[in-house]
Every structure is written in C-alpha cells, then in structure tokens.
C-alpha cells in the first residue's frame, strides 16, 4: 500500500472512530422526552402553571439531579392546549410528531378525552392524574391517580343524608367530568331518600353567577353541592352566594376550596364548607415550598406522583422504546406510596385511592369530624 493510500486509510479510520464516538455520546445524552399539554392560558392557566405544571417540573428536576433515568436526562416539552379539544389535539400532534415524546401529561376532561384516540394510535401514554371522568380509563393508554367523579359525588351524597339534609341543589360548571359527579350525587342522594330541588350550571368563562344563585336561593335547599374545575369560580361562587343572601344549611364542594383564589377573596367565605380531598403529606409540602416559595396542593402532589410512576416504570422496563411495556409496567405497578397517599394499580390505568372529607374551621383546613 503506498503512502497516499495509507494516509487515506488512517483518515478514514479516524473519521469512523469520531463518528461512532459522536453517535455514542449523543445516544448517551439523548433525553427521555416527555410532553405536557394543558390549558396554560385562560381562567385556569395561572392555577395550572402554579401547581400542576410545577408538580411535573419538580419531579423531573429532582430525578435529573439524581442522574436522570437510565443515565439519561428527562426533558419536558410543554404546549398550551387551551381549554378545548381541538387545541388539545393540535398540541398533542405537535408533541408526538415534532417533539417525539413518548408520554403526555394532561388535565381536564374536555382536553384529555379528545386526545385519547390519537394517543392510542401512536402508542403514547396519556397521564391525566386529576381527571375524574370514568371514561378516561376505558382507553388502554390512559392513567388516572385520583378518586373518580363518581366516587366524590357518592361520598358527598352519603354525608349529606347522614347529616339529615332532606333537600339538595347542585350548582356546577357545564363540563363533562363535573356532570358525572353531579349525576352520581343526585342518584345516591335520591336513593337514600333525599329530594333534589335545584340544578343550575355556569360556563367556564362566567364571572357573574348571581342570577343562578338567586334562583337556587328561591328553591331553599338544605344542601348545596357546588362543583368547578379550578379555584377562581369557587371563590366567585362563595362570594356571590353570600351577596345574594343564599344560606343553605350546608355547602359541599371539592378540594379547590383550598385554592389561594378563595383565600384572596376572604377565607371567611369558605367557613364551614365540607369538601372531598385527598390528603397530602407534610414532607412533600415542605420540600415543594422550599423549592417554589409557596404551599403545594393536592394537584401538585398528584401530578408529581404521576411523573414518578411513569419514570419508575421506564426504569423498570429499561427503555422507553416500547411504550406498550412501559404502560403494562404502570398498570401492574401494584402499590405506589405517593405524596398524597397510597395508590394501587391492579391491571389498568385506574389507581384505587379513596377521598376523605375535610372542612374549613376557623379559617383552617381540617379533617371533617361530625
């Protein structure tokens, strides 16, 4: 082989070595790509960024500080789904086709349900820990980590009857998941001998609910079951309930009464309200507060937990290339001790966890004791 040929071979060998080293390095650094499609604008946007997105980012940050998963960092791609199905599908398509994510976190029934057919087709797991609509887990590519809307409605109805409340009215946002809760409440309340005497709704963007509350006031129910998907409408409703002079014997709602929007308008408005909640651990709240400067809430905990369940499943499978295996690893996770209690996955995306009842007493959120 002459000198020129030897030089060419050496150069080729060096180039090949550099190329393979580069590929190796890139492969080692290639992040695990996760997506998030949630309403980051509009009435619920600030709440979602503050608690829900923060819960995911906190979990990812913690894991990355420990070296990531499988020696690789985790990267979260974020899209604003707005609060409608069409925008959610658009956001999901972008995350899957452009950002190449393997799983997507989301929230709110009208946002999540339209995503599912695409997620199933592309074999992308949709983790919607807070979505309460029972239809979510009919999909074999969805995961939930919260009591269902049905469970919450049942518990409230049973409590209302235990308290001897004979008549009830519901006031809820016109939203699929919330309608499920209302339906479950109404069915159980009537089954236990109660009588429904009012049923009003409001839209997501409504701020003046005094008309509907005036109508409910005229019906004079013993109990009012109020449902909304975020803290702002809860705060507005509690304020306007007081303004129209509506005084049912008991107001029931969800954990969103703990939202800072309610506190901003005045905690006294929520005094005595009984609500369903999932308990958060003080340890999680402490570390969340140290990182973000404010208290966490239930949704921050649930979304933090869902991130870790996914990451642990990927770790167990050894790769995110076959998401069918990762999904099955989640579905057969068994017990997961999370920030909001113990979940049990027993072969589906439905994790079993029971709500508790809490109340606002002297401005503090405490476990409800009859």
């Amino acid at each position: 082989m002459n000198h020129t040929a030897r030089t060419a071979v050496k150069l080729l060998a060096i180039s090949a070595a550099a190329l393979f080293a580069g590929i190796g390095a890139a492969g080692a650094q290639e992040p695990i790509r996760l997506g998030l499609a949630m309403p980051l604008s509009g009435q619920n946007g600030e709440y979602i960024k503050r608690y829900v997105l923060a819960g995911h980012e906190f979990a990812i940050k913690e894991q990355n500080e420990k070296g990531g998963i499988l020696g690789r960092p985790i990267k979260l791609f974020i899209e604003d789904s707005r609060n409608d199905g069409a925008s959610a599908v658009s956001a999901l398509n972008k995350l899957i086709n452009v950002d190449k994510v393997v799983a997507v976190f989301s929230i709110f029934t009208p946002v999540v349900l339209p995503m599912l057919p695409i997620a199933e087709e592309k074999k992308v797991i949709v983790l919607a820990p807070s979505v309460e609509h029972p239809d979510l887990t009919k999909s074999r590519w969805a995961v939930r980590m919260t009591p269902t809307a049905t469970t919450n409605g049942l518990l409230i109805a049973q409590q209302a009857r235990k308290m001897g409340l004979k008549t009830a009215a519901t006031f809820a946002e016109d939203n699929e998941a919330i309608r499920v809760s209302v339906k479950a409440f109404v069915a159980e309340f009537e089954k236990l001998g109660g009588k429904m005497i009012g049923d009003e709704t409001f839209k997501n963007q409504d701020t003046d609910m005094r008309g509907q509350l005036t109508k409910l006031r005229a019906a004079r129910p013993d109990a009012l079951y109020f449902l909304a998907p975020s803290g702002r409408p809860v705060a507005l409703a509690l304020k306007q309930i007081s303004e129209v002079g509506f005084k049912p014997k008991q107001i029931f709602t969800t954990h969103l009464v703990e939202d800072r929007e309610v506190m901003a308008l005045g905690a006294s408005m929520a005094e005595g309200v009984i609500y369903t909640a999932v308990a958060t651990t003080p340890e999680f709240n402490q570390k969340f507060k140290a990182a973000y400067g404010y208290d966490s809430d239930v949704n921050a905990g649930k979304h933090f937990d869902s991130t870790n369940v996914l990451l642990q499943a990927i770790q167990k499978v050894g790769s995110e290339k076959d998401m069918t295996k990762v999904r099955d690893a989640i579905y057969n996770f068994g017990e997961y001790k999370g920030t909001i209690g113990t979940f049990r996955f027993v072969g589906s995306g439905e994790s079993l966890v029971s709500p508790i009842l809490k109340t606002v007493k002297d401005g503090k959120y405490v476990r409800y004791q009859p």
Binding site: S41, G42, Q43, G45, E46, D174, D199, E200, T201, F202, K203, Q205, D206, T207, D208, M209, R210, G211, Q212, T214, K215, A218, R232, L236, K239, Q240, S242, E243, V244, G245, E261, A264, L265, G266, S268, M269
Partner: protein, 292 residues
C-alpha cells in the same frame, strides 16, 4: 319575588351593557368606524383602576373617576394612533374594521403579557348588600342604576344643548356638509372617541370593582353591546341604551324557567330574531332623520 330579584339583577347587568353599547354607537355614528377595539378600551379601564387603586394606593373616591378619565384618554389615543393615519390614506370601512380587530387582538395580548392571564381582584370579600323585603340589592345594583340614571340624561343634554354636542350630531348626519360648514372633523373625532370611551370606562370600573380584571373581559361585554346596538337600532343612541337594558333583563329573566347554559342562546336568539324580522331594530323608525 324570584322574578323581581331576577329583574333587578338584569337591570344592573343591562346598565353595563347599555353604557358600553351607547359608547360604541356614539363612536360608530360619529365616525362610521366599526370600533370593535372598544372592547380593548373597556379592559384598559379595568387595568387603569387596578393600577391607580392598588400599586399607587389612591383612595377609591379618586381612583374610580381617574380610571374613567384614563379610559377616555386611551380611547382618544387609539383614534390618533390607529384610525387617523388610515383616514389620511383614505382607508374605507372594511380596512378600518380590520385595523380595529388588530388593535383589539394586540391590546389583549399586551394586557396578558404585562399583567398575566390571571384575574386580578381589586378588593377582598363580598359586596355590601341591602335587603328590601325578600329582595337583595348589592352595591353593584345601586351604583349601576345611579350611573345610568345620571349619565344618559346628561349625555342627551350634551348632545342636544351644547355646541360640541350639536357639532357631533352634524358630523354624524352629514360629514361632508359638516366639514364644509367649518367643523374641524379630526378634532371632533378625538372628542367622540374620548366620550364613547368614557362611557365604557364607567361600565368597566363597576365590573372591575366587583369581579376583578382579566385580559379578555372586554370581549364578552363588547359582543353583548353590539347585539344591543342592533336590537335598539343602529344609528340611534337611546336605542342602544334600550337594547342594552332589554338584553340584560331578558338574559336574567330567562333564568326563571331555563338553566344558566341558555343565557348565551338568549343573546344570540335576540340577534337572529331582530336581523331576520326587524333589522332596523326596535327604534328603526327614528332612523329616518338619522338621529344621534
């Protein structure tokens, strides 16, 4: 009693719609501009009140009128910066409308960027309320009613008894003849925009005081105000006021028998009904002489 309470609630919301509708109609009649960005001016007033009352800490008695004045100034500025350059280029109504949409979108996006998308509450707690028998009045009911009772007659007196008012009506009736007669149209446009925007300012400070401020708050009110102008009769200011009150009361009374989810249907239904059966509006007959 429920009907009476719903009627009173409707009067209060109708007063807000009427103020916004009359402001819009005044601008449209005087300038021929379909000023959809009136919604952005409305929202500006809310943020002006927030800045004056909270970061600057002015007492309400100062902050409220100051916010109305600031809204008037913003409306006039919008004419100077957006519409006047287009008038100089001879832009027609379609171009003005597109520019107005652009101004509305730009303003809303700017409010979101500067103030965030969250609702800003201006005060804690519920409004003071007064019970008269079984009817409950909130401070909003009382203030909205008082504002409407004072503002509309004063506006009518201004338009019919003052030099400026007569000039505005002349410009609305026949712009070319008004200019030939020596009316300074460009100067008058600023007055029209300021006056129309002040009316929006009056409406928004009432709402902001009660429900807080958010970037898209002007859009929903603007839509109902537009329907009010059509229902009342395009080109007739008392018609716009009547349309606003009628829509507010109808929306509220619909709750007597229908669920809250039907309220938008009531507004759309009114719009469709008038467009199909009486496109000239309730007071269409007054348009023979094109009254302002």
């Amino acid at each position: 009693m429920l009907l009476l309470q719903l009627f009173i609630n409707g009067l209060a919301s109708g007063a807000i719609y009427a103020l916004t509708a009359v402001g819009f109609a005044l601008i449209y009649n005087g300038t021929r501009i379909f000023h959809i960005a009136h919604g952005a001016v409305f929202t500006f007033g809310g943020y002006a009140l927030y800045l004056l009352a909270l970061p600057l800490g002015l007492p309400w008695i100062v902050a409220l009128p100051a916010a109305v004045i600031a809204t008037a100034a913003f409306g006039a500025l919008m004419d100077t910066l957006v519409y006047r350059p287009l008038r100089k280029r001879g832009t027609g109504p379609a171009g003005m409308f597109i520019a107005s949409i652009g101004a509305l979108t730009f303003a809303q996006a700017t409010y979101s960027l500067v103030f965030g998308t969250d609702t800003i509450n201006l005060r804690k707690g519920g409004l003071p309320t007064f019970d008269i028998g079984e009817v409950t009045l909130t401070a909003v009911h009382v203030i909205a009613a008082m504002v409407a009772l004072i503002v509309f007659p004063v506006l009518q007196l201004f338009l019919t008894r003052t030099r400026w008012g007569r000039a505005i009506r002349a410009l609305a009736d026949n712009p070319r003849l008004a200019v030939v007669r020596g009316i300074d149209a460009e100067r008058l446009y600023i007055v029209i925009f300021a006056l129309g925007s002040a009316l929006a300012g009056l409406g928004v400070v009432i709402i902001a005081f009660d429900l807080g401020v958010r970037p898209e708050m002007g859009f929903s009110v603007m839509f109902v105000a537009l329907v009010a102008v059509i229902v009342g009769g395009v080109g007739y200011l008392p018609g716009a006021a009547a349309g606003g009150f009628l829509l507010g009361i109808t929306q509220s009374l619909s709750l007597w028998q229908l669920s809250g989810r039907w309220q938008d249907v009531v507004v759309f239904g009114a719009l469709l009904a008038f467009l199909v059966f009486r496109p000239q509006g309730i007071f269409g007959h007054m348009l023979v002489t094109r009254r302002v």
